[in-house]
Symmetry: C2
Subunit: 172 residues, 2 copies
DNA sequence: GAAAAACATTTTAGGCTTAAAACAATTTTG
DNA sequence: CAAAATTGTTTTAAGCCTAAAATGTTTTTC
């Protein structure tokens, strides 16, 4: 709630809130801090992936999705999971097929659908990278106690739900 | 610490840890959740900025930095604050100067340095956007209690410090 | 069953982003 | 003071990313 001194001009003749310029500075600061953390970690991971394996982060992320789906995924699935645009996935897949990491085929039952899978090479390379990647993440979060981790997980779950609700409010 | 059952093969003849494939699945899950939250909110803000003001998020972010610095900033300053590459800022500034939102001049005392400022137009437009932007953020975080916000701030501060330490360990 | 709607993907146009190399100016060092 | 190192910016080459329009396919609806 705004401080009294900030509310003087928001009282009209009927003593009801009119235009309430509420203070949301805390939420804004929280958002900036969240963004800073993510950018920091993402940049670090990106650099290490490039240096150690000469691979980009988006390529790694896409392979991570496919590693969890032995039977393959459609491009739409990947697009939703990665929260990126369809066109983005098209290009990413193109390059990964080209380099021999992915296999792409048209679905038997629905000729609109493209199913992609990791190739043997793709899976092997991903597993090798993922093992090291996990140690980087552990190191980046090293100063958090197990309790911190649990608490962050809980609060971020709540944040995600809140944001999804807000996003849904806008586009029904 | 790994569960006993996971440690059988890590004990050598001298009962000392050899290769300890420790379990960091929790940290990994935390990182993915952090990334999901940020991507979700960032996408939402990006879309609203475009729809309401026909402006991109990077442009908005750059203007936000300059709004806090009435005396202007150098490109390097901006690059560090925004945690993006130098070349990125060059292009961004070019377009914002072109559209009349920024003023760019070479420093009097050091001819390497470019100082940029918001123009009157740039400041006015930014303030107008920022006011609305703040309400979006408030809405996206609406389900968090003030206590949640405080707690998240604390844990993210700890996360940031941890990640910075880890990053510094790599490049001394 | 033909028209309309929905769906999956690709294409397009433009902007963002990075790492690395190049360039220019200043500061440090022998 | 001149050579070397550092600093601030731009350029380059390649890839990432988005929104919107276009294309081809399947499902729904009348």
């Amino acid at each position: 709630m705004p401080a009294v001194s900030d509310c003087i001009e928001m009282l009209d003749s009927e003593t009801k809130a009119v235009e309430t310029p509420e203070d949301h500075a805390e939420e804004l600061r929280l958002w900036l801090r969240l963004l800073t953390c993510t950018t920091l970690i993402e940049g670090e991971v990106r650099g290490r992936l490039r240096q150690r394996f000469d691979v980009t982060l988006p390529r790694f992320d896409l392979m991570a999705q496919l590693d969890k789906a032995p039977d393959g995924m459609t491009l739409s699935d990947v697009s939703k999971r990665m929260m990126v645009s369809n066109g983005n996935v098209t290009g990413l897949v193109e390059r990964l097929v080209e380099s021999g990491h992915l296999d792409r085929r048209t679905s038997e039952t629905d000729r609109r659908v493209q199913v992609i899978r990791l190739t043997k090479l793709g899976r092997a390379e991903f597993r090798r990278m993922a093992a090291e990647h996990e140690t980087w993440i552990a190191d980046l979060f090293a100063d958090l106690t197990p309790k911190d981790v649990r608490e962050l997980m809980r609060l971020l779950a709540k944040t995600k739900a809140s944001a999804q609700k807000s996003a849904a409010r806008r586009k029904p």
